[in-house]
């Protein structure tokens, strides 16, 4: 007996993502899914973002890692709410894992929730978490080939944070070429050049976040 299903493999994930999305919308929480390869600077950027914006907004963070609570501890040290998800070998966060942590947050009292995904430029791009925005961090030591090599990430994100630009003088990374490559894969994607170390460009990132906040506020 043959049974035709034509079911999306990610059906269960997508259902959980819709559940999350509805909750975020009902509680008016701006949710940003932050992705990158390991070590591009996601946590450092989040530390700087908490430092820069927490006097104006209530910020919370979900930290996704294979193991350890280190990243969540770094955020908590700054006084922000952070919950760690350990994927125990899993290479990405999925919507069900995120849904399971949400009871730990008071979303009515949260303006922005950042989700730091597991460091990986492939798998996280395929999983909807219910976020409003998908942002990818690319750091200049990773080299120019990352945008063309990982098109499925860059075609599904709307903003590239080009991090560690303080290192540009020492590396052969070509910013113009990266902008051209991004155009070729996803012309709608924006790019912000910054350094979480020297804080150069952080104000542009904060302006982007505030624009996103304004867009999701009810009238």
């Amino acid at each position: 007996m043959k049974v035709t299903l034509r079911t999306d493999v990610l059906t269960n994930n997508n259902k959980a993502a819709e559940y999350n999305r509805e909750l975020f919308e009902n509680t008016n929480t701006l949710v940003i899914n932050l992705m990158s390869s390991p070590g591009a600077g996601k946590t450092t950027l989040l530390e700087e973002t908490v430092r820069g914006l927490s006097d104006k907004y209530r910020i919370a963070v979900i930290e996704g890692d294979l193991a350890t609570d280190r990243d969540a501890d770094r955020i908590r040290a700054l006084g922000a709410k952070a919950v760690q998800i350990n994927t125990h070998g899993g290479c990405h966060l999925d919507a069900r894992m995120v849904a399971a942590t949400l009871p730990e947050f008071d979303l009515d009292e949260t303006d922005i929730l950042f989700i730091e995904n597991v460091g990986n430029l492939v798998c996280p791009s395929g999983y909807d978490l219910g976020q409003k925005h998908k942002v990818v961090v690319l750091s200049v030591p990773e080299g120019n080939d990352k945008i063309p090599k990982y098109p499925t990430m860059f075609m599904r994100t709307e903003l590239v944070l080009l991090n560690k630009i303080d290192l540009l003088p020492y590396l052969d990374f070509n910013v113009e070429e990266a902008i051209g490559d991004l155009q070729g894969i996803n012309p709608e994607s924006k790019m912000i050049q910054l350094s979480a170390r020297t804080k150069e460009g952080l104000d542009t990132w904060f302006t982007w976040i505030e624009g996103a906040l304004a867009a999701c506020k009810p009238q």
């Binding site: 999306d8 493999v9 899993g90 063309p148 075609m155 894969i185």
Partner: protein, 117 residues
């Protein structure tokens, strides 16, 4: 590499559906896997074999996984040209502008399964 987890999800969906239809042995599973879906056919085959080995009650010994590839295709929103995207996948080969949109190749579906009572 999350093909083990994906295959687990696929088999859960099939298991549930088969239960409702009174099917107890699976003979064949067919998937559609797009070229830009991030799922790797080889790794899916490997995962299928591992699950089959571990669930001898649910699978026929000869049970097979069949994967239908869906080619990546893009279409230019300016001139309507359909093309096979290369690395600069949004670049229309005619207009030479980043005006292409992916129209196929993102599918990752369970097409069907076959089994018996």
């Amino acid at each position: 590499m999350h093909e083990m987890a994906l295959m687990g999800d696929i088999l859960n969906v099939i298991h549930e559906d088969a239960g409702k239809k009174g099917i107890s042995k699976i003979q064949k599973v067919e998937l559609i896997v797009g070229d830009v879906s991030n799922a790797l056919p080889d790794a899916l085959h490997m995962a299928f074999e591992i699950f089959k080995e571990q669930n001898k009650v649910f699978f026929e010994d000869s049970a097979a996984l069949v994967i239908h590839r869906e080619e990546a295709k893009a279409e230019c929103v300016v001139c309507g040209k359909e093309y096979i995207p290369d690395q600069k996948l949004a670049f229309c080969p005619v207009c030479r502008m980043p005006s292409g949109k992916i129209i196929s190749g993102e599918t990752f579906q369970i097409l069907s399964y076959e089994g018996r009572q």
